[in-house]
Every structure is written in structure tokens, then in C-alpha cells.
Symmetry: C2
Subunit: 125 residues, 2 copies
DNA sequence: CATACTGTATTATATAAGTAATACACTATA
DNA sequence: TATAGTGTATTACTTATATAATACAGTATG
């Protein structure tokens, strides 16, 4: 799965990497001891400096989501399904809350918001 | 309406100001020629340097959303209802798209996403 | 015309973020 | 054991963001 990095939205690249890799890890798609893309490979893929990728991975290790092994590579940390589910819910709730706050400030009703989601969800499947 | 500035999420403060003031302007709550909070007052309110606020206002003027008058103050630009509506829709769509992308990466169905919205929309009204 | 507000510019300083090039540390493996 | 692949550190440099203090520019109003 490719990462989608935006260089112009003001969100630090290493944070964008963290957010997207975090979602990959807790999504359950990657197996238990899967190897992640190497620092250099991911850096090349998204056209970014290796140290920027390394920084993102370092923070994700602090979060307990992956393990870094010098000379070997990067592996998904052993997480229980419950841990993954909790993280996944936290990520989604944070995003949904932002959207709801935006909708409220724009005076959009819950029904109008849901209508927009219904429409956009089927656009680029 | 108070602005909610987060100093720790990596999003530049002037962009957070822009996003929130933009929503206020196009929401229709503030009247046609309403005065906005002065640079110094807003800066004091959110505990930020006046030049950071001035920068946000400068960009919003470039977007055509407000007018800056030295010695007088800041005023909402004359916008048609259609212009406001378009901007409002653009803001919401951008936010919704982010949430949908997050939901997809977390393998959440449209129905599950809508269920979460139904739940969270009524939490802090 | 003095005063008290507006918004803006300047200068200096600090920090975060990102890049580039190079070197280092570690491990698997032919 | 040489090699090629891991991740990491260092150094130098650039840019963006934010602050502080001060000064400047413009307007309304007593």
C-alpha cells in the first residue's frame, strides 16, 4: 500500500508517515511479524529524506507499534487484537470528531453531513 | 465564538486561525459588513503573537474573504450567498474526504462510519 | 491636534522541520 | 570473511514558524 504524502498542507511529513503507517499496522492487513518497508526504500518511494522516515519510525516504536532492528529491519510489534481495535477506534474517532466540528461550524445538520458521506464514499473506491 | 488553537498537533498556528476564521465567515453567522476581532485582541485571546494573527488575516484577504483597513479594522468581504455556500461545501468535503480515507485504511464500512458519526454527533452539542 | 485605537514592518532570536552527504553500527548470507 | 543489505548518527545548511520589542502608518474622535 502506497503512502500518500502531501508536501503543501503544512502537516509535517514525518507526522503524515506516522499516521498512515499506524493505520496500516492496526488495520490487520499486515501479518503478525511482517516486515515493514525499509527506511531507504520508503524514503525513495515517497521521495523524501531517509532521516525523515527514520524519525517517523522512531516515534512509532515509542508508541509500541513496531520494532526497529539495526541490520535487520522493521517489524510490526506483537499486538493483541484488542490493542489494535482500540487504536483503530481512537484514530477514527479523532478524525470523525474533527469533521463533526467542521460541519457544526458550517451549520450543517447531521443528516446533511451523512448525505455528503454517502455521496463521497462511493466516488473513488 | 472562541477559536480553539492547539499548540501541539504540528499544524501551524496561523493555518489553524485561517481555517477557523474562514469557517466563521462563510457560515453566515456574522453579518455582511461585520467587524472581525482586531489583530491585538485575537492575539491576546488565543495567547499568540500579533504578527501570527496578522499573517493569518493577510492570507484570508488574499483569498478574498476579508478586508484589512489600517487604522480601522477588519471586515468581512462582500460575498454572495453562492460564494459562501461553495466555500462551505469545499471545506466540508475536504474534511469528509480525510475521514473517509482514514475509515477505508482502517477497514471500516460506510455503515460503521455512519454509526460512529451518529453516536459522536450528539456527544458534545 | 492630541490621543487612542487600528494594521504593519523591522530586527533579532529561537525552534522545528527537512534535506544532503557522509560515515558509522549491526546482521545475514554467499 | 567479504559483501550487501539493514537502521543510525553527525554535520551543515535551508526554510518555515513563532516570538519579542520596537517602531511606523493610518483613522476616528474627543
Amino acid at each position: 500500500m502506497l503512502l500518500d504524502i502531501n508536501h503543501h498542507n503544512g502537516i509535517p511529513i514525518y507526522r503524515q508517515i506516522m499516521d498512515q503507517v499506524r493505520r496500516q499496522i492496526v488495520s490487520g492487513l499486515l501479518g503478525e511479524n511482517s516486515k515493514l518497508l525499509s527506511v531507504r526504500d520508503l524514503a525513495a518511494q515517497i521521495k523524501v529524506n531517509p532521516m525523515t522516515v527514520s524519525k517517523a519510525y522512531a516515534y512509532l516504536e515509542m508508541e509500541g507499534l513496531l520494532l526497529r532492528n539495526r541490520g535487520v529491519g522493521l517489524f510490526i510489534a506483537p499486538l493483541t487484537d484488542q490493542q489494535k481495535q482500540q487504536t483503530r477506534e481512537g484514530i477514527i474517532e479523532e478524525s470523525v470528531k474533527t469533521t463533526i466540528a467542521t460541519a457544526r461550524q458550517a451549520h450543517l445538520s447531521k443528516e446533511e453531513l451523512i448525505a455528503i458521506i454517502e455521496r463521497l464514499y462511493n466516488e473513488k473506491p
